[in-house]
């Protein structure tokens, strides 16, 4: 096949990032699995992040694309269609298949025994193919049902408020439901070939990666226009008959930042351990869109108890309030990162999360950042809090 042959030629030139290919970022220090072996950019093509690990019995491939627009609903439909398309093929080779929105990107991974690398590449090509019009009805219906379900409960309404804020679709939890065309447009924008990241974990030669994965996604000729959001859906919000609810939402900074992760873990610990009388207080983590939005709900039989409980919870989000939990939060967030890196899928996700175009960050730098976090780092994280705090009405 001429295409494959030309890719093989390109691969042959790769020794020192040959003509047309650029080596981005720094080469990994030898032997550190937390740093990719090489990061390569193909002109008008994807960024390839390679973790070539001699001897690993599996091969894992992750493809991620920016969320454009920041519309989790459309991304959910796109992901569901993709998983439906690829599932049968994946089952034949016993591949683990996953798709979702993570760290502000639409991402898929497929992991199987190393002997089935060729079949796995086929699965990945199916995952990243353009969504069809047929088969979209069920995921769209599910998204409608999801909005209805969220509107049923005060906690769900807070999630709607946060999603609407991120999407910029207006207050009151007003969210649009995507149509088939919206999902296809999102694919054209997000899966444009030069916006994709492809992460490969396995004992595979470079020419294999080029031959199998460099042409996935939407080509440069297929352009989508600027995103136009349809009008939001009208939702009915039943009143909460027994309890009073209050809520607040805020962000402490980008959700992948180790200091923010530590602060969130500290806040979670603080809320668990604090004795707030006559009310139930819960922490909600917002959509996984990298914005780091958090919500707190307080529920009580009397309105003033709910208000007091929320005030107590928000008082925790301060240097004095989190002081007792900060170092335990750092340890918990660092342990979470280690636990995530212990599986091939989590390892790929971390490489994706901490990838930067200039190579200055990676999973290793994130782990080291946890090791160097100090008490005084808490103040910088909390600066975001007051600037972003808002209190939507969810008790209706």
């Amino acid at each position: 096949m001429p295409l494959v042959a030309s890719l093989l030629c390109i691969a042959g030139l790769i020794g020192a990032a040959g003509p047309g290919l650029r080596q981005t970022g720094a080469q990994a220090p030898p032997g550190d699995p937390m740093v990719p072996d090489s990061v390569l950019g193909i002109p008008a093509g994807p960024t390839l992040i390679l973790e070539r690990t001699e001897g690993i019995p599996v091969v894992g491939i992750r493809v991620s694309a920016p969320l454009d627009p920041a519309w989790p609903g459309a991304a959910r439909i796109l992901v569901e269609q993709a998983l439906n398309r690829a599932r049968d093929r994946a089952e034949v080779i016993g591949a683990e298949l996953w798709g979702g929105v993570q760290d502000g990107r639409i991402a898929f991974h497929a992991i199987a025994d190393a002997r089935y690398a060729d079949e796995l590449a086929w699965v990945v090509r199916m995952l990243t193919a353009e969504p069809e019009a047929t088969g979209a009805g069920r995921p769209i219906a599910r998204e409608n049902a999801r909005l209805d379900q969220l509107a049923e409960t005060p906690r769900g309404r807070l999630i709607l408020e946060v999603e609407a804020k991120i999407l910029g679709s207006g207050g009151g939890g007003a969210l649009p439901v995507p149509a088939v065309g919206d999902v296809q447009d999102m694919w054209l924008r997000s899966f444009a070939r030069d916006r994709l990241r492809i992460l490969v974990l396995g004992d595979l030669p470079l020419y294999w990666v080029f031959a199998n994965l460099s042409r996935i996604g939407a080509s440069a000729e297929a352009q989508a226009g600027a995103p136009i959001l349809p009008p939001p859906r009208t939702l009915s919000f039943p009143e909460s008959p027994l309890y009073s609810w209050t809520a607040a939402a805020f962000t402490l900074g980008p959700s992948h930042d180790p200091a923010v992760l530590a602060a969130v873990a500290a806040l979670r610990l603080g809320l668990q351990q604090s004795d707030i009388a006559d009310a139930a207080v819960h922490l909600l983590e917002g959509p996984d869109d990298r914005s780091g939005w958090l919500g707190i709900t307080a529920q009580a039989t009397r309105g003033r108890d709910a208000d007091a409980a929320l005030a107590s919870a928000l008082a925790l989000v301060s240097e004095e309030g989190l002081d007792a939990w900060w170092m335990r939060g750092v340890a918990a967030a660092r342990s979470d990162l280690v636990a995530a890196a212990s599986t091939p899928g989590g390892w790929l996700a971390l490489s994706d999360r901490y990838h930067s175009a200039d190579g200055s960050t990676n999973a290793r730098t994130a782990l080291e950042r946890f090791n160097t976090l100090r008490r005084e780092d808490l103040a910088a994280v909390l600066e975001q809090f007051q600037a972003t705090l808002f209190r939507p009405r969810i008790d209706r």
């Binding site: 690990t53 335990r328 212990s342």
Partner: protein, 399 residues
């Protein structure tokens, strides 16, 4: 990356099975005489995360011993989590029919420290407050689910599997009994004193390597096939549920290795999954401490077909000439599952610990944890399947 401190490396010993020599960078080190409490070390140069596994044998004698083990494990897990709270480590607990495993996913530089912490916790009598918390948690758990049909069925089947006779060993008593004096009994003795020294496995990213050695002899799944009864023991226990529970135990033929047994188990699961219909609610499979294949399944009491008959038929088909093509298809899927299970340090550690609990030597345990490259052929699995015999069947619920 920081280096692993020297003391574990010092006790980590160096021998390697050539069965895994083809897996470059995945080498196990084992001394002919490894000191007690020192870990079997398996090295995989590409791992971003290490694992420490401590495992005790499954409590296989009585219902009371099982209760003690559950309470002790809960308290021990809490103790380890408390003392490693400031480490880059996540500790999880698993139990299966072979053992009880405490598995830490840990940053490589913290592996030795976590190992020592776990070791200390296992050697020390458990703090009374943690034991009381564990027993209280179990009481609440049993009050909530102890009388559910699934729990009753599990107790009955486990009792039969322990005794290999129709006589129950106390497990048929009400779920909420058996707690008298439990906390005192658990707190009185350190876990390592009660069950003997646990087995230890450290899966790390660096360590000593050596020249390939001859492959170890295969690890048999069980050596007692000759004692299998000629007719299967069958037991019907009345139940009041609308769900019918069936537990079946099969014995593998002599000479079956642990790897072959694991693959046959996975292939059987794939086969059952492909035959699933709305009448089959759930099923799970395991290989117990005696080397038997145990299958639990639940179906609608009004199912139009007998799922235990389908189960027997599925095994027969896997061992038949006609099932050869299907077996090859199912083996493909099982291979990926096995590789995904053993690729993480935690999975490899748990697999090696399971093999050690079954009496494997260090090279055999390391070979088992690295067995993705030495998977049995479809032909060999067909031979094994054709020799599998039913030894026990318990039906709980309507017949």
């Amino acid at each position: 990356m920081s280096r692993r401190p020297g003391s574990v490396a010092a006790i980590a010993v160096t021998a390697i099975a050539s069965a895994i020599a083809s897996l470059q960078g995945q080498e196990a080190a084992a001394d002919p005489v490894r000191p007690a409490n020192s870990p079997l070390v398996i090295t995989r140069a590409w791992l971003p995360v290490a694992s420490v596994t401590m495992a005790f044998p499954a409590s296989a004698r009585t219902y009371r011993e099982d209760l003690v083990a559950r309470a002790s494990d809960r308290a021990l897990l809490a103790a380890i989590r408390e003392t490693t709270a400031d480490q880059a480590a996540v500790i999880n607990h698993y139990r299966d029919a072979t053992g009880r495993y405490f598995v830490a996913a840990v940053a490589p530089e913290a592996a030795e420290s976590v190992l020592r912490t776990m070791e200390r916790a296992a050697r020390t009598p458990l703090p009374a407050r943690l034991v009381e918390g564990a027993v209280a948690g179990m009481r609440a758990d049993f009050a909530f689910r102890g009388d559910l049909p699934r729990s009753r069925f599990d107790r009955v089947l486990d009792s039969r599997l322990r005794s290999e006779s129709a006589a129950p060993d106390g497990a048929d008593t009400a779920a909420t009994t058996g707690f008298d004096g439990l906390a005192d009994e658990v707190a009185a003795t350190a876990p390592a004193a009660r069950w003997g020294p646990p087995v230890w496995v450290l899966v790390d990213d660096e360590g000593a390597t050596s020249a390939p050695a001859p492959p170890p002899p295969p690890l048999p799944v069980a050596g007692s096939a000759a004692t299998a009864p000629s007719a299967p023991m069958s037991d019907q226990v009345p139940g009041d549920a609308v769900t019918r529970w069936v537990g079946s135990a099969y014995r593998f033929p002599a000479e079956t290795t642990l790897v072959e047994a694991c693959f046959l188990r996975m292939v059987l699961e794939e086969s059952l999954e492909s035959r699933r219909d709305p009448d089959l609610f759930e099923f799970d499979t395991e290989i117990d401490a005696f080397g038997r294949l145990v299958v639990r399944l639940s179906t609608s009491a009004n199912a139009s077909v007998s799922w235990e008959a389908r189960l027997d038929e599925a095994i027969v088909q896997l061992g038949s000439e006609e099932g050869r093509f299907r077996l090859g298809q199912l083996l493909t899927s099982a291979l990926s599952r096995w590789s995904r299970e053993l690729a993480p340090a935690t999975g490899a550690g748990r697999a090696a610990a399971e093999a050690l609990l079954r009496g494997a030597t260090d090279p055999q345990a390391a070979a088992f944890a690295n067995s993705t490259a030495t998977a049995p052929s479809a032909e060999r699995l067909r031979e094994v399947a054709s020799g599998v015999t039913l030894v026990l069947r318990v039906v709980y619920g309507s017949s």
